[in-house]
Amino acid sequence: MTRRPYAMRRLRRSLLWFLAIAVVAVYAFPFLYLLLTSLKPATDAIAVPPTVLPHRLTLDNYITAVNRQGVRASFVNSVTTATLATAISLALAIPAAWGITRYRTRAGRIMLAGSLLVRMAPAVAIGVPLVGILGAVHLIDTPTGLALAQTTVALPLSIWLLASFFEAVPREIEEAALVDGCSRPRALVSVILPVVGGGTAVTAIFAFLASWNEFLFALLLTSLKAQTTPLAIANLQSQFGLDWGPMTALAALYSLPAVVLTLLLQRRIVAGLSLGAVKG
């Protein structure tokens, strides 16, 4: 009597594993297909009918993409813009999030709710008037201007994430530092911040990615000089339409750091994602 239910349970378990692996495989397929296509000769990438596996592996698409005018500059712009946006956001969000979680004032609650609302505003409603505003102060088509625009996304996100991480810091740590003669700002920087170092790193990653992956502001606020990589990818056109071979290569180059980062820092990133509920 005991053997049959056991066999049944094993079968059920194997079925579940099979199902889970199938789901993940289907889910992984698009990115694998992107990588495989980028390694095909450019003509095979647009062959009819398409094939999944390349007949011949080549880096030609990567070479073509990187040598396209503006592509290398766009990588520099993407890194500059994202670094600036991350730096501005963290510099403002660290004190703000600490002020919100440590003192629990009405202003803090309003700020937290305000950040959430800002995160939910349609980007197009902010981006369209920003064209005129940044134009007036000559920041159109500059990494600084774009970074400021992206701060509207990265800052509320950082405040929200950091506030969640600061929640876990016991008050006694600050009190001990104050008793030892630290000033309050000093205690924040040299005692509390190291305690949430991991959380701050995750926040920095998410702020960076929010800027790195951002497209609408880049489309509205930059043209040639400050163009970021997402624009360069979208602009990879030939006279026949999108130039899929080089485009997949550039998209792979550009997505790979983020994907590798996810796999390496998986556990911390999961914490960040569930705390900050960030995808946007």
Binding site: V23, Y27, P122, V124, N213, M247
Partner: protein, 308 residues
Amino acid sequence: MLPGLASGGRRRRRGLRDGDYALLLIAPAALTLLALVGWPLLKLAIDSLHTGSAFDVGGRQFTGLTNYRDVFTDPAVRAAGLRTVIYTVVVVAAELALGLAVALLFYALGPRSQILRTAFLYPLMIAPLVAGLLWRFMLIDNVGIVNELLSRVGILDHPGDIAWLSDPGLVLFSVAIPDIWLTTSFMTLMIFAGLQSIPPELLESARLDGAQGLRLLRTIILPLLRPVIAVALIIRGVDAARAFDVILVQTGGGPQSASETLSLHIYKTMVTYNDPGSAAAISTVFMAVMMAVALIAVTTVWRPGRQS
């Protein structure tokens, strides 16, 4: 933000009280957001009362509420609004169903599903723009890999049978696919975290009482997951409603505006038709509706900061 700033300023006497110090910490971020979000939104509201742009030869002219009257009577705006609602519902419903199913699957498999969970996570880091282009490539009529594979396994007779991105009746659903692919992981992640916080004894005793499978799910698991699912739905709903990159790079809103949601319609009104007044009026209404929905959702269901 402003009322809080005002009330804190009054209590300044000797040194810095906790409340004032907190305010000092918060103020730079608050002022930055006011400048970068508040100012544009104010400008948006002002622009919406004018026609033409400040750079036009004739200058811009005050037209009062004319732009708003046009917003509410223009069938194109109404159609775009309806498409935004359909798109949002499709994306969120599909993500909830898939996300819940996959989370339950991982939960049933236990800790050893770790590797699969990690692999399932990666699309969250991919830019919506890349996802949109990639799926456009995979769905392109006749020559896309999706139809090719479907026809090879016999689901389609011919690779050209489904015109994903050029059939006006289908395109709004097709452009939702990359969005669903991109963020189902998020739904899974939230629900999986929710599942892990359910005390195992609770499920065990329910099982001993004879609750199995779907009944266990409906009577015990789903009610316990309700708060988690509510938050996930709010976040994803808001994000789907403002989706832009994904749709723009797939179809540009076409064919025949069949995939033109409000964000795309505003962008086109601004950039293609060069009509900042109308674009501002539609944005203002869009913004107001989104904020109202978000505010209601956040204050009634979510209540951030109050759980502790």
